[in-house]
């Protein structure tokens, strides 16, 4: 049921994105006139690219709101962000196609007219279109391809909403079916309002609308040379979380940049203190060891659907790779309150030093007959394979699998499990691509 529901998100996105085709079909001119000759065909394709691209842009702004209901329909906030990234890319490509296809229609009678389409002129609504597309390209080039400082990246990404506003002015004031046909105008107005509403909620007035929790930093513990545990205590509006979830965190006045990052929770939901475990990979995460005790952590959460109790099958195999152990640590601590679950955890690490939670997990396993930890040290035992899991845990097709680790490892194990007839609905994974 959870899996089926998580597919609905993309279905709704596709239906909504293509909905302008309906109002376009019923617009003023008869359909036959819109495909009657090559000029009409190119014009129609250009219009459709613009309408669908605009609609996708509006939906993309909604996906960026981090509203919790979205998680149910995409299978977790991490997947919502993957959808946001993909939809943004498709929208951008369609909006690039929009003037190209219109220029193609002009080319059928005048190459000069086609060329003038790309240059500013007397039509201010068209100039706004050129402005929006140029800005969008510039912002996308900078944010996609340049490794910018976080604050600049965030500011530039914020400007994508301004591009949308300029796009609205272009769409509604240029001589087109939107300005001529009321039904289409209201249809597109709906998406314009949706996009502006989402942008206002998240970006312009986020500080008033978005619920945030405040925690105080107790201590930062270094677990190995590149992994730290951040221990926090609640100050105001503590959030409720399930094991395996993650939060967006920003540290204020803490001696490091005030950036927002998603971090996995490694404490049990019943603990007084909140523990986040982070692998130092970038400039920001490497600086986390310098966090000062007493600093305030502003949190938004909790997010994610990677929780074992979300699934009814009590026979489970958990597979962790490296820092991917974090959500499983949180879940393992809670197993004692759900004795019906029987779990084997395969903890794959490069070497012994990377196995930062092995002794903690072995202690939990020693006290719980339904929980086993099987460490797999790849430099000694080789890579973890489904053969190893089958030898250790028996038949596979009656179990649910939880994967969290480096993407190539998850991809490989998912493929191996599918070859062994494990159903896709029984394989759950956590991708960190926010």
């Amino acid at each position: 049921m959870v899996k089926i529901k998580s597919k609905i998100g993309w279905t709704v996105v596709i239906i909504l994105s293509l909905s302008p085709l309906v109002s376009w079909y019923f617009a003023l001119q008869p359909f036959e006139a819109r495909i009657g000759n090559s000029y009409a065909v190119w014009t129609s394709l250009g219009q459709i690219a613009g309408l669908v691209g605009f609609t996708m842009y509006a939906i993309d702004l909604v996906l960026n709101t981090r509203l919790k209901f979205l998680e149910d329909y995409f299978g977790g906030m991490n997947r919502v962000y993957i959808a946001h990234h993909t939809l943004g890319g498709i929208s951008f490509m369609l909006l690039l196609m929009h003037p190209l296809l219109l220029a193609a229609s002009f080319l059928t009678y005048s190459s000069e007219e086609a060329a003038l389409l790309f240059l500013p002129g007397d039509d201010w609504a068209r100039n706004l279109g050129i402005t929006a597309l140029s800005l969008m390209m510039a912002l996308l080039l900078l944010t996609f391809y340049r490794n910018l400082p976080y604050q600049i990246w965030r500011f530039l990404h914020t400007l994508m909403g301004v591009v949308f506003l300029i796009g609205i002015l272009h769409s509604f004031f240029i001589a087109s079916d939107i300005s001529r046909e009321p039904f289409m105008m209201y249809h597109m107005l709906f998406f314009a309002v949706l996009g502006v509403g989402a942008y206002t909620y998240r970006t312009l007035l986020g500080r008033f609308f978005v619920k945030r929790s405040f925690y105080s930093l107790v201590v930062v513990k270094q677990l190995n040379k590149n992994t730290v545990e951040i221990i926090l205590k609640p100050l105001k509006n503590p959030f409720v979380y399930k094991p395996g979830q993650f939060v967006f965190v920003k540290f204020k006045n803490a001696g490091i940049n005030e950036e927002v990052h998603p971090f996995s929770i490694s404490s049990a939901s019943t603990e007084q203190q909140l523990v986040l475990t982070v692998k130092a990979e970038g400039d920001y995460t490497k600086n986390l060891v310098n966090l000062m005790a007493g600093a305030t952590a502003v949190m938004e959460g909790s997010f994610g659907r990677f929780t074992y109790t979300n699934y009814a099958n009590t026979q489970q195999i958990w597979i962790a790779g490296g820092i991917g152990i974090t959500p499983f640590v949180s879940m393992a601590k809670e197993l004692v309150s759900t004795p019906q679950y029987k779990v084997d955890l395969y903890y794959s690490v490069h070497d012994q030093e990377e196995a930062v939670y092995l002794s903690d997990l072995q202690k939990i396993a020693a006290a719980n007959a339904n929980f086993r930890v099987i460490p797999v040290i790849s430099t000694i035992q080789g890579r973890l394979t489904v053969d190893t899991i089958e030898k250790g845990s028996g038949r596979l097709d009656d179990k649910d699998f939880f994967l969290c680790g480096p993407p190539p490892m998850m991809h490989s194990l998912r493929g191996q499990l599918r070859k062994r007839k494990v159903k896709s609905k029984n394989i759950h994974s956590e991708e960190f691509q926010l």
Binding site: H85, T86, G89, I90, F92, M93, L96, M97, L100, A103, L107, S110, S111, E112, E113, A114, A115, L116, L117, F118, L119, M137, L140, L141, F144
Partner: protein, 31 residues
């Protein structure tokens, strides 16, 4: 994946725009 597609699309966009501009402004019948 989507980044690669966007990159290809951007290259195609600029190539086509430049082609249309050059053809329309310098090689059209009236230009």
């Amino acid at each position: 994946m989507i980044k690669k597609l966007v990159t290809i699309m951007l290259c195609l966009f600029w190539f086509t725009v430049l082609f249309i501009l050059v053809k329309g402004l310098f090689f059209s019948a009236g230009g």
